[in-house]
């Protein structure tokens, strides 16, 4: 297959970027988008050009490292798929593909397609955990978890923190990410003790990082590679207000 690839090139965090056009020839239909980009980089190196900086790690769609805005859609046109699990057969032969970094004020571009997503880490540090005393491992079934609650919690825990929700949101909002991280614990008995404090602290950090506010357009859900449901955003909104009424959230 052959493609014309328009890639965002930006030398560094502060510098001005632009789209550059490259040709990708003899691309296997079974190669992933990351493999195609790697071949393009090999070609660029052979030509003595600077390769395109991008991120990828596990290549099996579970780590959340790869992050590309492909033809204006986070992780490209396939539903429930990360960039590394997107295969070139999803595109028409001869197509022109535009590749940009995930864009948000809270995700500054470091170079080309690489953005700094440590804002997500800081949000998780505010409460995306449960506090436990160390010591002997607890008995396996000491805390019973109803099956449906375990399922809901797992649906939220599927979030790999890739940032596609922020990238696709017209408002640059991180609500789907934050709600998934909060709901992961809010739906388990182990997460109840810190439930409201966690919600409030994570939302405060989200605001501090400069993410936008949700306007319920649900673009995040549509592009999420793990298909996290916007139902969790409703739960986050509810828990935030309940927490505020309970006076939770003080450090």
């Amino acid at each position: 297959m052959e493609f014309t690839i328009r890639v965002w090139r930006q030398a560094g965090p502060g510098s001005k970027g632009e789209l550059k056009v490259y040709r990708a020839n003899n691309v296997s239909a079974d190669s992933s988008f990351i493999e195609m980009m790697t071949e393009l980089n090999i070609h660029l190196l052979e030509m003595g050009d600077e390769p395109v900086a991008f991120e990828a790690d596990c290549l099996e769609g579970i780590c959340g490292t790869c992050s590309m805005m492909i033809d204006g859609v986070a992780h490209g046109p396939e539903k429930g798929t990360t960039t590394c699990q997107l295969f070139m057969r999803s595109f028409k032969d001869g197509a022109t593909i535009t590749v940009e970094p995930f864009r948000a004020g809270a995700f500054p571009v470091l170079k080309d397609l690489v953005v700094d997503r440590s804002a997500f880490d800081r949000i998780v540090q505010q409460g995306g955990f449960i506090s436990v005393n160390t010591g002997n491992a607890p008995d396996g079934n000491a805390v019973l978890v109803p099956k449906d609650q375990a399922e809901t919690s797992m649906d939220a825990a599927e979030c790999i923190g890739c940032g596609a929700c922020v990238a696709s949101c017209k408002n640059g909002s991180a609500m789907l990410f934050v709600s998934a991280k909060a709901a992961h614990f809010a739906n388990l008995p182990q997460g109840q003790a810190e439930r409201y404090r966690r919600t409030i602290l994570m939302v405060e950090q989200m605001d501090k990082e400069g993410f936008g506010a949700c306007t319920n357009q649900y673009e995040c859900e549509a592009v999420c590679p793990k298909e996290i449901s916007v139902n969790f955003i409703g739960q986050l909104n509810r828990d935030y207000m309940v927490g505020k009424l309970k006076g939770a959230g003080g450090k």
Partner: protein
């Protein structure tokens, strides 16, 4: 070492609360709900145009005779309206700032046009409401219709409305504004439930449909009035001439 520089400003608990994005969205949602209730009550009042001159003019007398209660309602409505609009614009500015560099290409997968144009549909409805008040409340647009009196000596609201809508330009703008309101409400009403955290998986199929459904019922009701006038179903009472 003594700390230097200005002490960090301590915000009040309430100020901090209303600075949060979720709290601001609650304000927009709750004021939005109250405005929807107003729009429904207003529609019920307006539909009396189909019941004839006497019903409408008597209704107007009843509203005016509420005295201080009318002012409580008016001031309450203005406060709700100002909160809704100003908070929505605050959120809009926050959301614009959250993506300082725009995409060269950005596609939309599932967001409706209505949901993406709330700030514009809202602004258009805002401008329309100003025109609407100037026309029918303050009588500054088409003032020749504003001071009619019916046979019982009541302010002739019925004829004022009929004469207004017989003007095709007035009817055109009214219908256009109602269609924009439809767009605003079809997203806004459903959106409200999500923002206040009521939209859980069990009720989501219902609340997601309620917005488009209720918006359609409301807007069809409002548009029926100028259409009724233009079709001659709502006619001028004898003795009143255009």
């Amino acid at each position: 070492m003594a700390p230097s520089g200005p002490a960090p400003q301590k915000k009040s608990a309430l100020g901090e609360f209303f600075g949060s994005s979720i709290a601001q969205k609650y304000i927009v949602a709750i004021t939005g709900l109250l405005l929807v209730l107003f729009v429904i009550v207003h529609l019920v009042g307006n539909l009396q145009m189909f019941a004839g001159q006497d019903a409408v003019n008597q209704y107007a007398v009843m509203l005016r005779s509420m005295g201080p209660l009318l002012w409580v309602a008016r001031i309450g409505l203005i406060v709700i309206f100002v909160l809704h609009v100003s908070t929505a614009f605050r959120l809009y500015r926050r959301n614009r700032a959250a993506r300082p560099t725009a995409y060269v290409t950005q596609s939309t997968v599932q967001a409706s046009i209505a949901s993406r144009t709330m700030i514009f549909s809202g602004s258009f409805v805002f401008l329309y409401i100003i025109g609407h008040l100037l026309h029918l409340t303050f009588g500054l647009v088409l003032p020749e219709h504003a001071h009619l009196v019916d046979s019982m000596g009541r302010h002739d609201v019925y004829s004022m409305v009929v004469l207004g809508f017989q003007n095709k330009l007035v009817s055109f703008f009214y219908i256009a504004a109602m269609l924009v309101l439809w767009s605003h409400l079809r997203h806004g009403i459903s959106s409200m439930f999500q923002t206040v955290g009521v939209r859980c998986p069990r009720v989501a199929p219902f609340t997601d449909q309620l917005g488009p459904l209720l918006a359609t019922v409301i807007v069809v009701g409002y548009i029926a009035i100028p259409l009724g006038v233009l079709a001659g179903i709502i006619a001028l009472p004898p003795g009143v001439t255009p």
